[in-house]
Point group: D2
Chain length 372, copies 4
Amino acid sequence: MSSNSFGQLFTVTTFGESHGPAIGCVVDGCPPGIALAVEDFEHDLARRATGKTRHTSARREADAVEILSGVFEGLTTGTPIALLIRNTDARSKDYGNIAQQFRPGHADYAYWQKYGIRDPRGGGRSSARETTMRVAAAVIAKKWLNDRFGVRVHGYLSQLGDIVPARFDSAAIDWDAVESNPFFWPDAAQVPELETYMDALRKSGDSVGARVTAVADGVPPGWGEPVYGKLDGDLAAAMMSINAVKGVEIGAGFASIPQKGSQHRDLMTPQGFASNHAGGVLGGISTGQQIVVSTAFKPTSSLRLPAEGLDTDGNTVEVITTGRHDPCVGIRATPICEAMLALVLMDQALRHRAQCGDVGTVTPRIPGRIDG
Amino acid sequence: MSSNSFGQLFTVTTFGESHGPAIGCVVDGCPPGIALAVEDFEHDLARRATGKTRHTSARREADAVEILSGVFEGLTTGTPIALLIRNTDARSKDYGNIAQQFRPGHADYAYWQKYGIRDPRGGGRSSARETTMRVAAAVIAKKWLNDRFGVRVHGYLSQLGDIVPARFDSAAIDWDAVESNPFFWPDAAQVPELETYMDALRKSGDSVGARVTAVADGVPPGWGEPVYGKLDGDLAAAMMSINAVKGVEIGAGFASIPQKGSQHRDLMTPQGFASNHAGGVLGGISTGQQIVVSTAFKPTSSLRLPAEGLDTDGNTVEVITTGRHDPCVGIRATPICEAMLALVLMDQALRHRAQCGDVGTVTPRIPGRIDG
Amino acid sequence: MSSNSFGQLFTVTTFGESHGPAIGCVVDGCPPGIALAVEDFEHDLARRATGKTRHTSARREADAVEILSGVFEGLTTGTPIALLIRNTDARSKDYGNIAQQFRPGHADYAYWQKYGIRDPRGGGRSSARETTMRVAAAVIAKKWLNDRFGVRVHGYLSQLGDIVPARFDSAAIDWDAVESNPFFWPDAAQVPELETYMDALRKSGDSVGARVTAVADGVPPGWGEPVYGKLDGDLAAAMMSINAVKGVEIGAGFASIPQKGSQHRDLMTPQGFASNHAGGVLGGISTGQQIVVSTAFKPTSSLRLPAEGLDTDGNTVEVITTGRHDPCVGIRATPICEAMLALVLMDQALRHRAQCGDVGTVTPRIPGRIDG
Amino acid sequence: MSSNSFGQLFTVTTFGESHGPAIGCVVDGCPPGIALAVEDFEHDLARRATGKTRHTSARREADAVEILSGVFEGLTTGTPIALLIRNTDARSKDYGNIAQQFRPGHADYAYWQKYGIRDPRGGGRSSARETTMRVAAAVIAKKWLNDRFGVRVHGYLSQLGDIVPARFDSAAIDWDAVESNPFFWPDAAQVPELETYMDALRKSGDSVGARVTAVADGVPPGWGEPVYGKLDGDLAAAMMSINAVKGVEIGAGFASIPQKGSQHRDLMTPQGFASNHAGGVLGGISTGQQIVVSTAFKPTSSLRLPAEGLDTDGNTVEVITTGRHDPCVGIRATPICEAMLALVLMDQALRHRAQCGDVGTVTPRIPGRIDG
């Protein structure tokens, strides 16, 4: 399996560097007959794009998607769908001073150790620019999941630095409120506070971490494959593959540790589950409850604040990053986490169908769907 | 890729149910010429085994490994190594009462929804019994990693319920102390406290969660493949595939969220890294620092405390689990987390060698290894 | 993908050496609910076994299959099915004289060059003994394909040395006649001629090649994935992976070369195809016609006739193979070719279902199946 | 594994339809540090291109490759290399009359059965246009194989209809002669005969089959993975995945069938192998001899000669193909077969290095390479 590919059956292969000619992806294994046009990509790409508010990188990404293959007369044909986005605002000169030095906490050093060569322009392949194509590919997945199963994928920022949502019901989030602010924050009343915080942070030249929570409603029970193809295992790999991620939780996550079993276990009633500490997954398989996955983003390492670093000869140098960067990458990461959740679900849906047939054919004797 | 297989090049395929005739695995892609005998498996399997202290399940697993293939005159030959362990103390009658009902929080329900059929004896395939084979396969990986690169893999229990180690230096752990108590606890002085805690817990019939931290020293820089084959991505999938895991962290993990970038980034000096918030991974690639991965285990759902559940007809029933179970699965999970860390490293070592050649051939111009 | 595994979704991983303790396989991705018992394996394993007639190796393989996992109360559960066969008549002493020398035309030399070590007992992993597990795994595939789609897989010997069937209709083979003789020969009248031929060959100490043709009836149109997962591409890999195979043909195969397009193309009528030069595959996808694949087996290299060879020091030695060997491995290869055909079809059936859904859900507007 | 991807470690994913906006590929797993420029692709793409002689399709393919990623300052970086070719001479109107009907022997019918939808323009995804990207990707493989191991890959047309080379030594082919004629024919004296034959064929509106032989010199012993990842198994899949291929042979291939073992087996002497019936592969592993693989191409089904066909309603129609087509696709297939051979070798070279280390590290005790 190519290491730039994701998914066993709905396989997304991405390519491209931050400041190269283009980024793109190839989506293979897509079911035929899905209506698809370039307009379908606009909404989610805009949600992820930089340059829209002062709280994200100033780089302006037009992100116009070209469909190169796999669609005929507006329908997917079952053959690979290639998507291409030209890089238009890639100002490489911003990065000239870092070609021979390593920023602390940046992937540049590790790439150089691995390959003995690296593309230093904008972080090259290690740039979050790559995640654009995840969002694009997931547009197709979200469509199919919703059309066929009614699965709906959402996400929100659940922590910014040490700020957490003050007033919100995680089981009944107001998605319109989330979408109405540039932070994807579920408590609209807190937005002014967040803006003040981010303005101060940007001025300081520093950065901060964040937590994103992505959820999926309407997932049928039975998706996920024991034991190394578990739904939550795939989600963990998916989220950890996003730039700057340092942790992943399913459901109660690390909060499960001090819990007692009698408290953690989600009771089942004929009316559905009574709670959802499991985050919708038991034994690596979906239960029919809401899938809940949270992701920790570290503070970015590209700061205007100088730091001691090394150059390629091993000498100490002072490193300052002058390019355009996000003071909190987590802010724009909500659509990316949603995308990875959708890609995992799409892939598992196809894998389940392969082994067990279309929904309804395997499990006729189940008295009724138990839904939380 | 088979969903019961792990690893792209060092591929471990496991099989077997908790109360079936046997469990086993096939290890494919193993380098030739590694000395291997049945005695090599004894130490780690004993560390993982149940039935040794009162704090783990009473099931006595002899866990005698038979090598069925892939070894000739004491050396691996490069062909698949099959390992087999017969199940000797599988008392299925303990589980008869749960064949027609679903325990809250248990995988039984999800398996049944997926497959329309399940092996209820001891949890069948969803039992932690399966992890025995991970530990066995990882014995081979640990050997090769140590012999060839000097990589050493260790683990310890870093939280039990709400108890955390009182006195210990995470950067200089006394591994002898860890191995001298049944909890793999790094602060030997706390062991009596843990024993009292566990005795009370077991008496109550309840269970509790735990956190395990696994570390690897001596990992060369350059292991890990961007972007969907990242070292930390593989680790996340590996850890989340273990039974009862709900969260994974690399390095600072979720504690990165409130950190500032100026605080989180690990400064590099000619003498090495000044800190290790990254947990040894940048951009998905090892940096030469210690690899640090922590895993959250939920409290097990198999309790003697009765709970409301459902039967296969959708009716409410009172569920009590009377079999032998661990009140805290995390206690025995330390060798399992170590195993998954070793398997990931082994696989990535081979993948790195495939693309970039043996260590030393790709990166001759690096002035000196920067080690933390 | 492990190199000892076959199939993307119906994945068979085999292990074991000719004279090791056991051979076995793990079948992963199997649909749940298939009735399966040890008796199901007896028929096909007996068809493949040695020691039954004087025309095959004298080694007596009992080949009693043990089901270690994946089956509960007689039904597959969807979890990996491990099958084990102990090696009972492995007389290693027969091979002692070849441990330090290389037989011309034998895999021993190549294994030694690759791994620097080899198991010389009976050819170790390179022995055709391994194919036993292919036949075993294919029993499950044959069952499901027949039960669900009415697919029937057969095979016959279509050439032995320079002898070809004198009287037979390849489009309407009498399978009872094929099964009634030890050669799987479609023209029963020729069997005495074949016996005389083989007796003389065996007496001479030499060996000869053969061709096996495997066919599948009832395969629905649409199986196979362009462009690197073609049905015929998978068949080619499958057949070429069998020991001693040097060529594979689909349909007319090499006989297509001198054909004109106007002659080769199979005309379609409302009543079906008028011919089947394509062998049931167009563009890598099944058409609904009979799938036809032919395989060339070389004469085995293990002869009683002495030959010049090399030892491990590079010196010339005279090599004589005194063990038990087949004078024509192609004779017993018919069940093996059938097995590989069944495994490919099973895998492609699941892959088709994953992308396009169960048969009938994707292609409702097709006026009627066009069948040859 | 995506079905539009080829190779386990050197993974080529292709996309694009014959008459869509573009075709392209993503090459993943490429070693870093290989010098690569757009000029490198020109030679082999020109060898494969149509429109150069009257004996191939009149379609003029400019085939200008754009490198979109993976190369920095003229060197591969180890990240995915995306290559793009815009389709410039795609005259879709030629194909309008076949949108609702099926040509006998063409993949259109099978695609429609599989997906329920197809792109009829120029055969869509099933067009040999796709093979352009195989040739492009293989340019990189050929470079690395030659630079690092001295491996040289060549090919020639070994049969055209019923014409075979009259005078040539398959063990010492004059590659300059092969390259000097548009047929890649090894006996230059026959070229006028071939031209006359092809002129008559083209005039008749019919097509004919061909055989292509590809060879690789300098392949080290030890490449190839038993048992389902055999070098010859991979070659069989690779060749069979090319459009219009119906058969594959390694070495003596089907001619092995009437051979005796004493004749077929290649004797080994301290000076090397005495013959090469094996085609350089034993037990699925290279022996150090020349790798020889031959491929049978059927006569194309797109003819100007009318034929009975079906339309999408199942009615009989007369089908005439008026587009630009090759009367013998085998003629241009030589570079494609070479490409697939190179891709297989590249992939196996990396796989061997992963498991066994760089050449020389595993097999120090081999007295000397035995080369044929």
